[in-house]
Each structure stands twice: as C-alpha cells, then as structure tokens.
Subunit: 486 residues, 2 copies
Amino acid sequence: MRIVLLSGGSGKRLWPLSNDVRSKQFLKVVRNGDGEAESMLQRVFRQLGTAGFGADITIATSAAQVGSIKGQLGGQVSLVVEPERRNTFPAIALSAAYLYFEKKCPAHETVAVLPVDPYVGDGYFKMLKCLDTAVQDGIADIVLMGVKPTYPSEKYGYIIPADVDVKPGFDSGKTDMHRISDISGAWDKRMSDALAQDLGNAVTGGDVPRGSSPSGAAGIMPVEKFKEKPDARAAQELIGRGGLWNCGVFAFRLSYLMDIVRAAVECGCYADVLRQYSTFKKTSFDYAVVEKAKSVAVVPYDGEWKDLGTWNTLTEVMEEKPIGDVAVSGDCVNTHVINELEIPVVVMGAKDMVVVASPDGILVADKVQSSYIKKYVGDRDLRPMYEERSWGEYTVLNLSVDARGNRTVTKKKLVQAGKCMEETRHERHLEVWTVLSGRAVVRIKGRDHDALAGDTFTIERGILHGLRAVEDTVLLEVQIEEAETC
Amino acid sequence: MRIVLLSGGSGKRLWPLSNDVRSKQFLKVVRNGDGEAESMLQRVFRQLGTAGFGADITIATSAAQVGSIKGQLGGQVSLVVEPERRNTFPAIALSAAYLYFEKKCPAHETVAVLPVDPYVGDGYFKMLKCLDTAVQDGIADIVLMGVKPTYPSEKYGYIIPADVDVKPGFDSGKTDMHRISDISGAWDKRMSDALAQDLGNAVTGGDVPRGSSPSGAAGIMPVEKFKEKPDARAAQELIGRGGLWNCGVFAFRLSYLMDIVRAAVECGCYADVLRQYSTFKKTSFDYAVVEKAKSVAVVPYDGEWKDLGTWNTLTEVMEEKPIGDVAVSGDCVNTHVINELEIPVVVMGAKDMVVVASPDGILVADKVQSSYIKKYVGDRDLRPMYEERSWGEYTVLNLSVDARGNRTVTKKKLVQAGKCMEETRHERHLEVWTVLSGRAVVRIKGRDHDALAGDTFTIERGILHGLRAVEDTVLLEVQIEEAETC
C-alpha cells in the first residue's frame, strides 16, 4: 500500500502562526513521547513510520510548502509538487500519476490518501491496513475511514452507512444528501462479515478503540450517502443512524484512479499529466470521484481524532506550559501562550484565553471567540513574516515605504551550515547583505567571496548571486525597490 | 517664581511602554484639547505655559532622558542634567545651584519643585501662585501642595495639618509618624487668615475646585506631621483629621535652599556643585529638607489629580479607541489596546484588560492585576528597545549572540531632516550602516560621503564617525562586538 499525504491548506484560522506558506501542519506546538515539540506533519510522519508505512509515503503539496516540508522531514521525502493550487481531485490525480509513472507502482496496489494534519492515536494508522484489505478484497471502489462522532458537530461532513437491507426510498428526496449509486448491488453481506474479522484483528493489535467490542467497532459498511455540515439536530439524528465523520481518508486501487486520470487527460508519462495540470477541474476528490463511484464503503474508526483547525481545539491538545519567552501570573486560568518573538510576553489575570505572538502579528483572544478570527484577519494582506526554507529560515524584521514610494524589506536569514541559497537574480530590487555571524561563501556574477561577520555585499538589480554557508550563518538582507524602475 | 520640574523615575510599572530611558512622562497616550496625542511631559509643559510659567521652567533630569525631553519639547528647554542618579534631594540642590549661579535668579525668589508626571486640571497650576504668595509672605520655610483625598489610598504619603491650637501630645508616640518641629512656634493664626483671602482669589480665577467654598478649600495650614502609606483604616482616620495626599510639590525661597547647599558642599559657582555631586547624600528631599524644616505649611488642592503610575489608572484617562495597528472584536469590554509594533494586533472577547505591544515586549493583563507587573518584569534586564533622541528615534530590530559569544545589535534609526548624530567613536564594536531611504552626509575620519538608499558604510572600531540628515533618513545600523576584543 502506498500512502499519499495531502499537505495543503494555507489557513488563517490559526493566525498569527499560520500564513500562506506556514500551514497549521508545520506548527511545532504538540509534543512527542519524549516531550519534544513537533509539528503535526512530523507527528503524522512519525506515526506512519511506527505503523510500518515509513517507506511508502508521498506528500502532495504546493511549491510554497516544499521548503517547510524538507526543513522538517529532511530532503529524502518523496514529493509531488502541484504546479498550481487546484483543489484535492487534481492533486490526488497527479499523485496517482506520479506513483504509476515515476515510482512504477503496480496498478493493483492500494493507495490511501490522508490529510496531513489530524491529531490522532496510533490506532488510526493501524486501521489503514483494514482499508488496504477491503480494497484488495474488492469490497468497494473506494473505501473511506469514518470517525465515530463524539458530539453532534455542525462543522464536519457525515458519512451515512447503509443498512444492509437498504430501504430504497430512505430520505432520497433531500437534494443536499448525496446518494451513492448502486450501493445494494455492490454490496455483499458475506464479504462484510469476513472482513470484519480481519479488521477486528488489526485494531486489537495496538491501541484499544473506545468502542465496547473491537470487531464490532471495526465493522466495514457500505455507504449510502453523505451530508455536509448538518445543523445540530440533524447531526444528532445522523449519529443515531450510525453516521460517521468524514475525516478525508480515501483508499482505492491505483488502477481505479489511473482510469479516471486517463479519462481526463491523455498521458503516457508523468510529465504529460504535469503539463496538463491546469486542465483538471478545480474540484474536490469527494465531488469528482467519491460521489460518482459505483460502490463506496466505510471503516469506522473509534479512537482519538481531532481536527486542530482552531485555537480552541488546538490548545486542547497542548500543554498549558507556555512556549517561548513568556511570564504568566499564577492567577491565569486555562490560558495558552505562545511567543515566537524575541521580546518577552507577560500575561496576567487571563482566563480561558489564547495569546500568540509571531512575526506575523499578535493574537489575544478568548478561546471560544478565537474561532471567529477570520473576520479580523481575513481582509489583511498576510505577507508571511517568517518562513522555513530548504536552506534554513528567515524572519522579516522591517517593512517600509518612504515618501517617494520606494519600498524596503529587511530580513534576518539563517542559512544552515552546508546549505545553499541557490543562485538567482532579482529584476525589481537591489539587495544589501550584512553578515552578522558565521562563515559563508558568497557568489556574485560567478565570483566567490569569503563572507565573515561585518562583511557587506551590495547586489545590484539583475545580478546573479548565491550563498553557501560554511558554518551556520546569520545575515541581514535589505531589499530596496524603487517606486519607478526604469 | 521659578519652576523646577523633576523628570525622573525609570519605571517598570508601565512596562512595556516604559523603560530605563522612556519613563511614563514620555508616553503619548493622553490627548490634548484638539484630540492630538501628547505625553505627560508635553501636557504639563503646555499647562504651565497656559498658567503663565512658560518662561520660568527648568527640568532636572538624567543624561538618559535628555534626548527624549529635547525631542518632545524642542531644544530650547532649560535643563539641569544630574551627573548620576542620586534621589530627589541632590537633584533639587543641583537645580537650586543652577538657578542661583547660572540663571542669576535672585535669592529671595520662590522656587516651586513639581513632579513632571501628574495628570491634573489647570487649577493645580493656578494654585502655584498661592504657594508663591505663602513663601514670599514668610508663612513657612517650605510650603507644600496637598491633594484632597478621594478615597483612603494605601499607596500615598499623607500630610497631616496641625490644628491651629496644637495639642502637643497628639499621637507623638508613634515613631513612624514624622513630626514637624516647632509648628506652633512658627505659626501665626493671623498670617493664615490673611493668606486665605489671597488663595481664595487665586483659585476662583479659573477652574472651580470641587470643595464647596473656594476660600475654605484653599485655606493654608501648618503641617504637623507626615505618614507614608498607611493601611486603609489608618488612611480613613487621617482623612477624617484633614489629612492630604503628598503630591511632591514643594515651594521655598531660593536662599533657603542655597543655605542648605552651602552647608553640604563648598561652592562659588555651579561647576563646584556639579563636581561634588557624588558627595550629596542619596536621599529624598522629604527626608533631607522637609522633615527637618522649622516650619512647613500646606495648601490644599481640591481638583483633579491622578498619579498615572499603573496601567489601571493610566487607562482611566485614555480613550478606549485603540492606538496603532489593532483590530478589536465588538464583544471586548473595557479593554485598552496600544500597539507600537509594525505587526497587527487582534484582540477578541477580552474584558477589563490592557494589551500593550512595544519593541520592549508584550503585556496582556487584567487591569486590576496589572498593578503587580513589577513582579514579572522586575528581574529582567530591560535593555531599551526604543528610544527618542535629540536627532530622531531608533528601534532595536534584533539582538543576538552567536556560538562564539559575539554579539550583534541591529537598529533601525530615523534621523530627522537637518538633525545630526554627533561624531563619536566606539572602542568595543564595529558598525555597519545601510541607508534605507532619505539623503544624508556621513562623516568618517573627517571625510564626508553622500549617503543614499542602498549605500553601506563600514565603521571599524575606534573610528570617528557622524551623520547629518539632509532629508528624513532611515538607516539600519548593525553593531558587531566580538567576544574577545584584543
């Protein structure tokens, strides 16, 4: 089985830590067993390794995230880089083509697609083996994982399993309920029973799910339909009928998806698909594939699953110990503080709050209110003030525009020993580098210069320049762009 | 009458806006009649001008504050700069010597010493005329202003007026009550009555004090003793006896203090006093002079007086409209937000809080709790990250120490058109300047260089250098100090 991790989602809901390049999966706010801070990406990658899938992972992402991913996982990770952002269907289609053409993955193999950012127990990854078994046994074209709901959430999509004796008229009049075609035809009760045995074995191997009976909890079911974001009352009713949260985990045979890819674009190699990427419909995999599948099944997962999409939910899994240079008074209650700046933060007498300071901005919010953050940062031009790159990281120290409209950007860059900022040229701005510490070789117009603390380099517009760090090197970069360049 | 404003008090209670050079008097958080932000220093200076004392003001301060004072009031203000911090007695003694020797102020003139940072109505300054009259009439050696208490505060010092028929045994057994010697001897009931008439006239000329009868409110009284920070019950009792808050306003004849100065140091000119400054006892004017005076009188002031020493009291006189790049959700209640940083601050669902972000740090505090701030920032090494100087202002963008112990400081400096950073040399660090915008002339080793956006200047240790801004000029200054300089 191959694993495709979808690393998408530039988000504002975790502002100011998340921005266009720093999605929530890169935030190092949770801790591993050793108490070390790790990101959701690192956590999921580690958990997949523990579950035995370490060698089989491909990450589908955008160019903007490549630096962060390589910075956090190392350079060896297998990446599919979308030429542009086009939603999940094109991204998964591209990943399938990559596995098939580039990785020479056999067409009969199972591909499981997972979001990169759920906070889950290890049982979740063991459950992937059940999805693999179900796909290989031909139970359905698409096999989903469904999370047993813990409350009637209005935020999630629900997967509604069919009774095995499907009542054909059941609720089909509701147009916002997506009905899976031919469920009863595709389903075989005996297959389900046989599979339930496998699933039971798989899930009892490690984490014990919350359900009373492991094999019961793991029973695979045909899917009748989906319901997006019901109101609380409808959600309660769906849960009563066995409805499960759609957590975005899909499994299928590679051949099944390659047929769909070939129907969309003519292709004989990966480059063909890449080149025609912009012709794929900008639509979700749910809509383009799952809802059109002849048969869809779901494996329930009854263990820890959290969508850490808001400060309110994220802080639930964080220790209350503040992160960064922070002093918190003893009378603070249920308050989380994260400080990524180099200046101290003092919090006194706060209750049920989240305080987050980053180079992008400062949030002080009541936890419940924090879920409405988009209203306050949605319109802002969120230029990232901090980015991890393949060579290290940078922070924007200053942005300014003078009376004539000339713009300057001042960045502090840390280039790791042995890493390179590849040679490039800028047509719109000149750059001035001042080395603060470390040792590097600066290449300007093909000529190498030793660079030590106190050295400056002025790089005029259009001049090819790059840097290789001999030791960890910190430099200040000033970009100056004139209002009217001739 | 001459006015001496004491501009002291590096404070942490208004952290992160206040620091060692930026005391609370420099914070532009209150507004003048035109709605423009002004600092306490600017407000008091403006109010003194309105009261007719504009030409008679001398400010006693430390070298660290000279830049801020000149920046806020202009270069023409008369300054007495303490060679070192030694408390209020030496500072007032030095100011007296300055007025006497340098300003050739006649010895019989009244000197009124005022703190620079009370938030008061204009009536407070009109009351200074009453102090002048009392001093010139020889009512007492020292005449104080006493603020009519509005509640039994435990934070202030109390001035307890004597009954005119003094009961000699009254409370004298309490050792923490400072008793003024010879009160009954120095006091003449008829003088008091005559003066009350003058005082009544003075205060009814403008603001109407809160008291029911102007002449009654203004009645001058002999002082029996002082009590520092009583508990609430004792404070209530003192108020019952007519006790007043000591607001740090003292008036005396210049000759009276010059006698004390001459007793302390031998002197025939200002330079003599300046040179021997370190021999003055590090003690308060209250202790060294007021408590030892033969006769002390007090003029009550019954108008607006606020000691804006904590965020709780300061925000009482501030509009709730946030200052700086701030978004506040509609459900915030009684919350003040000040943002001096260039990144946005978002505050949601906060109640009774103060949120302040400055280059020095970030405070998020319940207003009542904010008065305990010293506990959380008291131990910190509060290197100022922002300073106003005579030539403009600077902000520290970055501080770092590398693995070898080399330190760098990166500052953004704004030098105002026509202003100079005087020539200087640094023995411990080299400097690199990068001009971001504007136009200036940089002088290095006596040679002038034109400086425009993108230009860099490397100034080795020990080299004389300065800058004159032709236009408003913004530059980045990197200081690099090696761990071991040879």
